[in-house]
């Protein structure tokens, strides 16, 4: 069990997301950087989609109320355990009474505090992710507050070898255009109904993640995307990554807590395999977009899976080697 010491807002319990309830108007939620979540769980020997705490604002401080193995993945934040530096993307055995402090990130924007076995909150509609709009899931359907206590499903001294880390996905799966982090995008239904000059500018330009960006959506700033003629679109299901363009032409990328449906014109969709890159892009930073095909998007998913499989294989080898 851990206790939240800091008064930081916006930290929530998330797993991979809540699927199968879109038909009730329930969006998927889930970790903004699912790779970081998967990595933390791999390091701890947890099920890959066990729930963790997603931390978007820093500093963030917790006290361990009992012995518990934990991992901190995602953003490389200035982390200390009882004042001793903890490297990024690392797993270790925590002891009762220790204080874990996560300071401002030097890279990335969201950190994941993963606990042995996963965070112990009830699953609602098949997931432990926090559904903020509906006020259910995670811890009582809300962001964490100072004083909250969260249990781990497997506290105590871990039998697994700990005290090692992993190379961040931002390094292992780096993708940049002209030095700027990039995400691949598949054109959507209304793509051809935007002006040619706007389309060209979308791929060629840098896009800034404005301060009005969060788990619901990222409001982007760049060359306005202008339609050939005004469009009224019927409401339809959407998924995270869909790039909607309201009047004015500044696009909003729907993120994990977005409405599961929408009716604004769609320019394209950031591919599922690259959503974690957006999830780690800090407010105020710039990104580029790369046009890709469906086959390339599917291959990118496979590339992510290969990375996780390889990490899993090396973790297993390391554990066997240490036991020897």
């Amino acid at each position: 069990m851990i206790e939240i010491l800091s008064a930081t807002a916006l930290a929530t319990v998330q797993d991979f997301g809540r699927f199968g309830s879109l038909g009730y108007g329930v969006g998927t939620s889930g970790a903004m950087d699912h790779l970081a979540l998967a990595l933390g769980n791999l390091l701890l020997g947890n099920p890959e989609d066990a729930a963790a705490i997603e931390i978007p604002l820093f500093p963030f401080e917790v006290r361990l109320l009992q012995d518990c193995a934990f991992a901190v993945t995602g953003a490389a934040c200035d982390a200390t355990l009882d004042g001793q530096p903890l490297p990024p993307n690392w797993v270790c055995q925590g002891r009762e009474g220790q204080v874990l402090n996560l300071g401002y990130p030097t890279s990335g924007s969201r950190a994941y505090l993963c606990l042995a076995g996963g965070v112990d909150v009830p699953a609602v509609l098949g997931s432990r992710s926090t559904q903020l709009r509906g006020e259910f899931g995670g811890l009582d359907g809300r962001a964490l507050q100072q004083g909250d206590r969260l249990g781990a499903l497997r506290p105590g001294i871990s039998p697994l070898p700990l005290d090692f880390g992993v190379l961040a996905p931002s390094l292992a799966l780096a993708l940049h255009v002209d030095g700027v982090p990039a995400m691949r995008v598949l054109p959507a239904a209304e793509y051809e109904r935007f002006q040619q000059a706007s389309r060209a500018a979308f791929w060629a330009g840098e896009w800034k993640i404005t301060t009005q960006s969060n788990r619901y959506g990222y409001r982007m700033e760049g060359e306005p995307l202008l339609p050939v003629a005004p469009m009224e679109i019927r409401s339809h299901g959407i998924v995270p990554g869909v790039i909607q363009v309201p009047h004015g032409g500044q696009p909003i990328i729907q993120m994990r807590d977005a409405q599961p449906s929408g009716g604004y014109p769609k320019f394209g969709s950031v591919i599922e395999a690259d959503l974690w890159r957006l999830g780690q892009a800090p407010i105020g930073s710039k990104v580029r977009f790369i046009e890709c095909s469906y086959d390339q998007a599917v291959e990118a998913l496979e590339s992510n899976r290969r990375y996780l499989r390889e990490v899993g294989r090396l973790v297993d080898l390391h554990r066997e080697g240490v036991k020897a």
Partner: protein, 130 residues
């Protein structure tokens, strides 16, 4: 142990002019020799302090700065505590800790960051307090 792992070990030996290595874990005993005298290696849990040096715990790339951080783990002149992290060994995507088992002062750093190392290579010179 897979064939590709054996190939990788052999490649490391070749590239870094190591004569050989012995590797064992449950169910596996592997000895690689390149001619000359075989070198037998252990995979100790902690960095071996052999006289006034720290030695690596295994094969990999020795990193003196964490890939995501700007400052190196330690600098010459630093006073280390027992258990302090002084470097990481990169093995594929894993980063394995190289920790000083005792309190000591860093006198010199003998291996450039990013060097591929074998088992038991001396990479840090230490001075124990009297």
């Amino acid at each position: 142990m897979t064939l590709s792992e054996i190939r990788q070990l052999a490649q490391w030996l070749k590239e870094h002019h190591l004569a050989g290595a012995e590797f064992s874990r449950p169910g596996v005993q592997l000895t690689l020799r390149r001619g000359g005298e075989p070198v037998s290696v252990a995979a100790p849990a902690a960095v071996a302090v052999d006289g006034p040096v720290l030695r690596t715990t295994g094969l990999g790339r020795l990193l003196l700065t964490h890939p995501e951080l700007r400052e190196p783990f330690v600098a010459v002149g630093d006073q280390l505590c027992a258990g302090q992290l002084v470097a990481v060994l990169q093995v594929g995507e894993l980063l394995l800790p190289q920790r000083s088992p005792t309190a000591a002062r860093v006198i010199d750093i003998r291996v450039p960051c990013g060097t591929t190392v074998g088992y038991g290579e001396a990479f840090l010179g230490l001075e124990h307090q009297a």
